[in-house]
């Protein structure tokens, strides 16, 4: 895959690290009960098709960003 880093431009996937599902809302720090954190941390949809994920340009500018990726085809969409 080639990933368009919002800061550096398109680079090979080997420069990036995957950071998980970006469609979930993290409970605010110090807020949220056990169930809220449990659901946030452990329960994921497993969509086939377009998905939004966190990625970090870890071997580049270290920017964390959201990337849309099709989980079935690895087609890469917008990065923000």
């Amino acid at each position: 895959m080639r990933i368009p880093c919002p800061h550096c431009g398109e680079r090979d996937v080997s420069e990036f690290r995957y950071g998980g599902d970006a469609t979930k809302t993290r409970p605010k720090h110090g807020e949220g009960d056990l169930k809220a954190w449990h659901d946030y941390y452990f329960l994921f949809d497993n969509p086939k098709g377009p998905h939004t994920e966190y990625w970090q340009h870890v071997l580049g500018c270290r920017h964390w960003f959201k990337l849309s990726r099709n989980t079935a085809t690895n087609e890469i969409g917008e990065a923000s």
């Binding site: 056990l34 966190y54 270290r62 920017h63």
Partner: protein, 977 residues
């Protein structure tokens, strides 16, 4: 017994350049332009190998990558290479395989008589039962008697490379379709790469004899060569297609010389914006009795050997076909003076073919197939049956069962091919965006159609980038329609075996057996019979097998389906995949800024993750087992110097830095005074320990954070994630100093004296630099951070400085503190000293343990929020019987404790996973016995109890006792000295 001969003239070989090679040690000759296969045939070597299971005599079948039989070991150590894909070069050394002592006289041919044993499912039925170890018992015998070439344990002496490339249009295959596509795309100015697996460009054109076509080929190649935006690569196979138009190409170099750095093969990772597949088609064999005899070949291959390599059958050829294309072979053979007998399964044959056959004096048998083939080591006679019966003597039997488009690469992306009834073949089932198919791979078999396709697809590919182009002019000519009568099974039952897959020795009978036993899916058929599982991956056999199974199941062929095509398309050397990442380049390694200093101090190094770390030093001994004990004693009684530069070091700055650290650490950092350090533990969101380390407050808004060596990258990334994604309101910036700063530990009762000698102007008294204090001093104008921390449990300091100055500082310590007896100590002693002190490290922080498991539960702030707080309190993570940290003392003299030992209570039966395990073990110089840290069910509730440490690998059991993990100085008197 010579069945082939080299013609005096013709062909594409260079008779002016003779080439000498050896076959099983005997010298043979050929010409430049030969393949190994054509040279062997020209030398009369029709019997080239013995088959996989039955050791039946076999010869070369094809002239291309689909070759199932003609496999050889090339050089010393490369087995299973198809002779049809090897360029003949001077000095080439070729060994036959799977035959002993030679293919001509094979003692293992007795397997042929045992053939009832080797029917399908034989392995499963015989060796997977009746008792469990059957397979282990039989396997060595089977492997010896049947199989392919042998691998080698020797190092590959060749050099391999990898490369990365980009292009606009990749064209795979250089037949008429590929040439037209590449040129049409190239004329637009687009960056084009054309790859051809053969040593020459032209594909099918290389096997033609018309001057027009050769002239056309040369004109196109000349124009391609003239375009600077077009790269053409021969001997380059597109091995696999992956996501995002990522194609792996294997380039085989004409010359290679490891000594001169010239690689033998290069694996190219190519990213193409669009791909044109012009991969052509492969001819199918027909299935009939004894169709595996040497001299039974694909009709197109016979034509290629005749026209391209000037290798012709001696006198007589029989051709059997179900379609028109074999007539091209027949006519060319007849024109070369070979007596040709034609058997055509079709009763009605196009009249132009009949009249030309008559004109050339060929014997014609319409509605006729092959009943049997005679000739022990070489075909000598063919029995024809059907509408006509005849027995014909011959040197070669050429067969054509029709053509299968080479859909392999097109379907690597997951698009399955579909069956075309009219062509009796599978064609691509569609294309992803920016993928195009041209020519025979689409089932359009004529030269004219291929060129038109190439033109069209070349234009379409570049139109996607808004470019225009003009098409390639085709040569004069007209395609004839492709007529085929599907024939899958022998027309008449013969006496011999009718092979479907000659490489894996799978017959029609095996497929019937699989069907009878319920293995009817093509994926099951494949695995039950081993059909298509050889090095050729069933290129000639799969479609016949699928059709036969469909027939047995009485379903349409499309419904039977194909097996999944996977990369690589042809075999490739593992060395090519590795490229240069071999030996010490296998993975990168990191050197501490003190690496040279360590070396000068006599260090022996050990790999720790990617780091090369100083393990122990020569002054203490020449084996780690003894050296670390002397180094430990040095630290406990005097003063030692250790390199701790591998620790993760992070500069945390900003007005919200304290708040930020207060959130990520379980313990409080908000009120840490300037000039003080604090030990902190971080959790993951799930409440499991992520990392620990000390963090020092440099100023109100600046902290110096250290992590463990192993988690340095992970923690940095995690902090960045929190700040950039979730806590964007916090004004904090983190910067990794791991590479910019070095660290060294000065440890032992005499460490303060050493520090004073090193920095005479600084006040390092306890008053000014207490335990967990921080002091900035100056060394030759360089700012140095002195942190009074202790991993060993002794009075100790960490001295951190910019990496460039670390070497000088290291030497400075060793020089000025020499009167105190300072010496360096290594990783083994570092790790052992902390066990005595009961400090947890990577072996305990294994991402499965909670704060409470590690005895650190009291650190967590009760009131404040911290990451992992909520999920840390999950019921199971708070269970009292969790395995938690304990100290362990060996109670038996003369034995050793071993890391990884399984722990049992003294009354347990020694069986299963026990109640815990030992994480870290060391000899204690203080206690004069082996001690360990471990995790034990219920933890320190069992302090004082006797346990058994079992080490099944060595069948050892040691009596031990659960004790506090703090083996020394429980009160911390030494730390605070």
């Amino acid at each position: 017994m010579t069945a082939f001969r080299r013609l005096e003239k013709g062909g594409r070989i260079d008779r002016g350049k003779p080439v000498t090679f050896t076959f099983d040690g005997k010298p043979l000759s050929g010409f430049a332009g030969d393949t190994l296969a054509s040279a062997l045939l020209a030398n009369g070597k029709t019997l080239t190998s013995r088959s996989f299971k039955y050791h039946r005599p076999r010869g070369i079948v094809s002239a291309g990558v689909e070759e199932p039989n003609g496999l050889f070991t090339i050089g010393k150590n490369e087995p299973n290479i198809p002779a049809t894909t090897v360029d003949l070069t001077d000095g080439l050394a070729v060994q036959s395989q799977n035959a002993w002592p030679s293919p001509d006289f094979d003692l293992m041919a007795v397997n042929s008589l045992l053939s009832p044993l080797f029917q399908s499912g034989f392995y499963y039925k015989t060796f997977m039962g009746p008792f469990k170890k059957s397979w282990m018992f039989y396997e060595p015998f089977i492997r010896r008697a049947a199989g392919l070439g042998k691998g080698s344990y020797e190092k590959d002496s060749d050099r391999y490379d990898t490369a990365h490339e980009f292009c606009d249009v990749l064209v795979v295959g250089s037949g008429p379709a590929g040439l037209a596509a590449a040129l049409t795309a190239g004329r637009s100015g687009a960056r084009v790469v054309l790859v051809e697996q053969d040593s020459e460009f032209g594909g099918q054109l290389l096997s033609e004899r018309t001057a027009d076509l050769e002239a056309w080929r040369k004109v196109q190649l000349a124009e391609l060569a003239s375009l600077s935006n077009v790269k053409i690569r021969a001997r380059t196979t597109a091995q696999g297609l992956y996501d995002d138009n990522f194609v792996v190409l294997l380039q085989r170099h004409e010359e290679s010389d490891a000594a001169k750095g010239k690689p033998r093969q290069t694996l190219i990772s190519l990213r193409a914006k669009s791909i044109i597949f012009a991969t052509g088609a492969l001819e199918r064999p027909l299935v009939f009795s004894n169709n595996d005899r040497p001299g039974v070949m694909l009709a197109s291959a016979v034509r290629t050997y005749l026209n391209r390599f000037a290798v012709a059958p001696l006198k007589r050829a029989v051709i059997v076909t179900n379609n028109d294309t074999a007539y091209l072979t027949a006519f060319d053979l007849a024109e070369a003076g070979i007596a040709v007998t034609m058997a055509d399964h079709r009763k009605v044959i196009p009249s132009d073919l009949l009249s030309k056959a008559a004109m050339l004096g060929m014997a014609m048998f319409p509605g006729t197939g092959v009943a049997d083939v005679e000739g022990a080591k070489q075909v000598s006679r063919v029995q024809l049956a059907g509408a006509h019966s005849a027995s014909i003597e011959c040197d070669v039997l050429a067969m054509s069962g029709g053509w299968s488009p080479a859909v392999h690469l097109t379907s690597h992306g997951g698009i399955k091919p579909i069956y075309d009834e009219k062509l009796a073949a599978f064609v691509p089932g569609g294309f992803a965006a920016a993928h195009f198919g041209a020519g025979a791979v689409m089932g359009r078999f004529g030269t004219q159609a291929a060129i038109k396709d190439g033109n069209d697809m070349g234009a379409r590919a570049v139109a996607d980038f808004g470019k225009t182009t003009k098409p390639v002019a085709p040569p004069e000519g007209k395609d004839r329609a492709y007529h085929i009568l599907p024939v899958w099974l022998p027309a008449v039952a013969g006496k011999g075996k009718a092979f479907v897959d000659v490489q894996s020795d799978v017959t029609v009978k095996d497929i019937r057996t699989a069907h009878q036993e319920g293995y009817v899916s093509v994926e099951h058929l494949k695995r039950y019979t081993t059909l298509g599982m050889g090095t050729d991956q069933g290129k000639t056999s799969n479609i016949n097998a699928i059709a036969i199974m469909a027939g047995l199941r009485e379903v349409p062929i499309m419904q039977a389906g194909t097996t999944t095509f996977r990369p690589p398309y042809t075999g490739l050397a593992v060395g090519a995949i590795a490229g240069r990442t071999i030996g010490h380049h296998f993975r990168p390694y990191r050197l501490s800024p003190l690496h040279d200093a360590n070396k000068a101090s006599g260090a022996t190094f050990i790999e720790a993750g990617l780091w090369m770390r100083a393990w122990y030093y020569a002054w203490a001994g020449n084996s780690p087992e003894t050296a670390y004990i002397r180094e430990m004693e040095l630290v406990r009684k005097g003063v030692g110097l250790a390199d701790v530069s591998t620790l993760g070091k992070i500069d945390v700055q900003g007005p919200d830095a304290a708040e930020f650290l207060n959130r990520v650490y379980v313990n409080g950092f908000a009120k840490l005074p300037v000039g003080k350090a604090r030990y902190g533990v971080m959790l993951n969101d799930d409440g499991v320990v992520l990392d620990d380390g000390t963090t020092t407050r440099i100023s109100d808004t600046q902290f110096y954070l250290t992590t463990t060596t192993a988690q340095a990258g992970e923690v940095m990334s995690w902090l960045e994630y929190l700040l950039q994604v979730h806590w964007t309101d916090l004004k904090v910036h983190v910067t990794s100093l791991t590479d910019e700063w070095a660290g060294m530990a000065v440890s032992g009762p005499k460490s303060r004296e050493a520090l004073q000698l090193a920095f005479p102007a600084a006040d390092v008294s306890t008053g000014n630099l207490p335990y967990m204090g921080c002091l900035e001093v100056n060394f030759d104008g360089v700012p140095i951070r002195l942190l009074r921390l202790s991993f060993s449990g002794e009075l100790a300091y960490e001295v951190h400085c910019p990496a460039d100055h670390a070497h000088a500082l290291w030497e400075h310590f060793l020089n000025v503190a020499a009167p105190l007896g300072i010496k360096p100590y290594g990783l083994e002693a570092l790790a052992s000293l902390r066990i005595e002190k009961g400090h947890v490290a990577g072996l305990e922080l294994d991402h499965r343990n909670t704060l409470d498991d590690l005895g650190l539960g009291k650190m967590a702030g009760k009131e404040k929020a911290y990451i992992g707080k909520e999920l840390r309190l999950r019921e199971n993570l708070q269970a009292p019987e969790r395995w938690s940290l304990v100290g362990i003392e060996l109670m038996e003299e003369g034995k050793k404790l071993r890391g990884g030992s399984i722990l049992f209570s003294a009354s347990d039966e020694i069986k299963g996973h026990g109640r815990g395990y030992i994480t870290s073990v060391t000899w204690s110089t203080e206690l004069n016995k082996f001690i360990a840290l471990g995790l034990y069910q219920g933890g320190l509730k069992h302090e004082g109890e006797d346990i058994i440490c079992a080490f099944p690998l060595k069948n050892e059991q040691m009596k031990a006792r659960i004790v506090s993990p703090h083996f020394i100085d429980r009160e911390g008197a030494r730390l605070n000295a």
